[in-house]
Symmetry: C2
Subunit: 152 residues, 2 copies
């Protein structure tokens, strides 16, 4: 484990707003707790990085792979018309990348999800469905949070 | 010139809303005509691509390099607190990546620029200043639009 991984700790606001689903190659995979859109967030497990361009080249490459993988998953598993990918971080400085499936006519279309009102949260069963779909499509690339949290 | 480059044509809405500054490695470089933020847009010159993850791997790598270069330029040349990087495309489907310098306390902080009201456009002199700064920092990677437009 590198120094930067040791220093990593998920921002409390992301933790409060999202379900931590698991881990991909270099990032935690979160689900925004808002059923109105399939809204995922990747948080590279490196400490102290704020801007996308500040990532080490190898971590940036791994994150890029995750963005591609997750975008395909959202397109394949949900009925969406557009993927929105963004690293914003005006509210939470810890580097995190949104991958959001959008549908024409969804609650804030064609506006963006950031700043739009939130819907209800997911039920446990709904989160379970998404976890199974991730396991089916991503295989061993995806490690369930309950597996590494049990060992923490 | 590849087939996809031949098919490429800048979306009319992007063309209307922005100044075309020039070209980087694989993308047109635009400046949103809104003085309230240093708001650049990269448009890879490939035809028919809508989603970031649909880009060929080599073009994606080149675009990634441009995002890094442009993000550093915005940090170095303007007084900004945060870079917002995003591929949204709900309004304009042609793939384009926003690289926006944000300052705490700017007109829509901490909200996002998409959907916020616009400020005045740039004067010719102000665009000229930005072009010179790009030439100084990026050197031969940056090709001025007036050079390739003269030959078109």
């Amino acid at each position: 484990m590198t120094d930067s991984a040791q220093q990593f700790r998920l921002d409390p606001r992301l933790d409060a707003d999202c379900h931590t689903l698991g881990r991909l190659d270099c990032s935690l995979l979160l689900l925004m707790d808002n059923v109105l859109a399939p809204w995922f967030i990747l948080v590279p497990e490196v400490g102290g990085v704020v801007e996308f361009h500040e990532l080490d080249a190898d971590v940036q490459q791994r994150l890029l792979g995750e963005i591609n993988l997750l975008s395909r998953f959202v397109k394949d598993h949900f009925t969406v018309d557009k993927i929105n990918v963004a690293a914003i971080g005006n509210m939470v400085r810890q580097l995190h990348v949104h991958v959001v499936g959008r549908s024409e006519g969804d609650w804030c279309w064609p506006g963006v999800v950031w700043g739009a009102e939130k819907g209800r949260g997911y039920t446990e069963a709904e989160v379970g469905d998404i976890l199974r779909a991730l396991e089916n499509q991503l295989g061993s690339v995806f490690v369930l949070a309950r597996e590494f949290e049990a060992g923490a």
